[in-house]
């Protein structure tokens, strides 16, 4: 795949030069095979299910407890508050897992476990929070179509990656 050359002239210090070298290195790594990406997706679904299932059960038990208990502070556990807490915790977790981790660490837990890294297709940089959110939204809105596109392309890039100008590279293991 053709990559645009990086602008090395504007480098102000050694750390920048090394970061650019690292980004170029990521770009030269092979694209992640579809099978590994699917495996990382399944792993992510398992982890997300475990957390959401656990916290939902906990809140469900709290709700039953609040209905049966005579404790003086039980009014804090009213259905409105518990419902709000449920949505808040779940949204916070999903934001951290699917958006923040991609922008901060270069991938979700599943990606990182299997040695994948989500980067900008042009510069090799990790995504900003905004890019990470837009990539997730593209992914959610195109889901199966995105998979079909990935299966039909020789480089294995999915539709939401193409739309958000990102690419997933396999950063561990030999090329």
């Amino acid at each position: 795949m053709e990559q645009a050359p990086l602008n090395r002239e504007a480098t102000p210090n050694i750390q920048e030069a090394l970061s650019q070298a690292e980004q170029e290195h990521w770009l030269e790594r092979p694209n992640a095979p579809l099978a590994i990406r699917l495996a990382s997706f399944v792993l992510d679904m398992i982890f997300i299910y475990l957390f959401i299932h656990g916290q939902h059960r906990l809140l469900q038990a709290l709700s039953i407890y609040s209905a049966t208990s005579n404790h003086s502070l039980v009014f804090l556990l009213n259905p409105f508050f518990l419902g709000f807490l449920d949505v808040f915790v779940r949204t916070g977790f999903l934001f951290f897992y699917l958006v923040f981790s991609v922008s901060q660490f270069g991938g979700t837990v599943g990606n990182l476990l299997l040695g994948l890294r989500v980067i900008d297709a042009q510069s090799g940089r990790t995504l900003t929070l905004g890019r990470s959110i837009s990539r997730l939204l593209f992914g959610l809105s195109t889901n199966l179509l995105s998979l079909a596109v990935a299966m039909s392309r020789p480089d294995g890039r999915s539709l939401h990656d193409l739309l958000s100008k990102t690419i997933i590279k396999k950063v561990r293991g030999r090329t």
Partner: protein
């Protein structure tokens, strides 16, 4: 469909646990299941009869129901919140309510016993399984809120299994675990940090579910509190055992520990009374036994960095063999301080080591060095040495040339750094 199954701690082949001892516990569990199956069956019939009596109106109040349930046959073998004894708590670990319950626990127990024997003798493993499991079950009957479950038997090997899990985390928390993975196009082994899965297994899976069980309404037939209790008991027992054994925190396997306690003293005597050389010999000997031990490698790297002038090029070369790509990715700061110290003393990096280190490792070390402006010369020297070692790789060499030119613009001291 994918699989990711922990198989053993990441250790050399000859340290890997064997299956043989875990079958002893498995056979014990199967024997107990077969031996006491009539009592389990009688208990099932007893409960069916209880439902019939309740529907027919023969059991008029809760006191009558409690009187009837207190005579459950299974309570002669296992414990419940209203009826327990230490002997029955110990025995409950070997009793199962059905074939599926037994099979699921057998898989876990076989794997757990096998994996724990990498660190501790079989009898210690078995003791932790029984004592930790019993404490887990007892904690469950003491903590569970009073209610409809007063006469429900708490049994099964799962609390003991969680005690073994706790033992494994105590001994291997700072090291890695080898997982077997399988998905349609590929399969093999992958090593991941044990601490990552500690958070996934224990925090995500069990703590949330057991907190829910603390409240009066139970959602499933699984005793999550016994699991957490067993896990905590296993951790405490393993920590106590480690303290009694005086197990140093940087040792991973039992083989290293036995060598440390039995043979290392003699070996060190032969290296004389120089503490710097004796420490070097000690870490090197242990690394020869387990070359996956990153804690030892970290200690060795720091030791070399602190006393680099005391070691010959041959010793440096021998030590650098242990600093592979994974170690550098996990401990770039240790490698950076070692390379800085070697550079300061005018000692060169072994070309063999540079040849087998991937490019991203060099970038990581350089990034770690770049936190201080004083190290710019060392970084340049490192990249130059790396380029020299990879001259045959044209593409990499060109890329490094670009990086060197870039760095030269920032730091105009190439000649000084390379010592040319």
């Amino acid at each position: 469909m994918i699989l990711l199954v922990p198989t053993s701690p990441e250790v050399p082949r000859f340290h890997r646990p064997t299956w043989s001892v875990s079958w002893i516990v498995a056979i014990l569990l199967i024997f107990c299941y077969v031996q006491f199956y009539p009592i389990v069956q009688a208990d099932q019939d007893y409960i069916d009869r209880f439902q019939e009596l309740k529907e027919d109106g023969h059991l008029k109040d809760s006191a009558a129901e409690a009187r009837y349930l207190s005579q459950r046959p299974l309570l002669s073998l296992s414990i419940s919140p209203k009826s327990w004894s230490v002997e029955r708590a110990l025995f409950s670990n070997f009793i199962h309510g059905g074939a599926l319950h037994l099979i699921l626990n057998l898989i876990g127990v076989i794997a757990g016993v096998r994996i724990c024997t990498t660190f501790i003798p079989f009898l210690c493993t078995l003791s932790i399984f029984i004592i930790g499991g019993s404490l887990g079950l007892l904690s469950s009957i003491w903590i569970t809120t009073a209610g409809g479950g007063d006469w429900v038997p708490h049994l099964g090997a799962s609390a003991g299994l969680f005690a073994l899990m706790g033992t494994y985390y105590v001994y291997n928390f700072r090291f890695r675990t080898s997982y077997f993975f399988w998905f349609p196009s590929k399969h093999g082994h992958i090593s991941l940090k044990t601490s990552w899965f500690f958070f996934l297994d224990v925090i995500l899976l069990e703590l949330l579910l057991s907190t829910a069980q603390l409240l009066p309404s139970s959602f499933d037939g699984v005793d999550h509190i016994a699991h957490v209790g067993g896990f905590v008991a296993g951790c405490v027992l393993a920590l106590s055992l480690r303290a009694i054994q005086r197990w140093p925190s940087m040792l991973q396997t039992r083989g290293e520990f036995l060598y440390w306690t039995t043979f290392l003293g003699e070996k060190l005597k032969s290296s004389g009374f120089d503490p710097v050389q004796a420490t070097f010999v000690g870490w090197m000997e242990l690394l020869k036994i387990n070359f996956f031990n990153d804690q030892l490698k970290s200690k060795l790297a720091r030791h070399l960095a602190n006393h680099s002038a005391s070691f010959s090029d041959e010793q440096i070369k021998a030590a650098m063999r242990f600093f592979g790509p994974t170690f550098i990715r996990l401990f770039p700061a240790d490698m950076a301080s070692l390379i800085q110290a070697l550079n300061q003393n005018g000692q060169s990096l072994p070309p063999d080591w540079l040849k087998r280190i991937p490019y991203d490792n060099i970038i990581r070390i350089a990034q770690s060095l770049a936190t201080s402006k004083e190290n710019e010369g060392t970084i340049l020297s490192l990249v130059l040495s790396y380029q020299r070692a990879h001259q045959s790789n044209k593409k990499l060499s060109q890329r490094l040339e670009v990086l060197i030119k870039q760095m030269e613009k920032i730091t105009p001291n190439r000649l000084q750094a390379s010592g040319e």
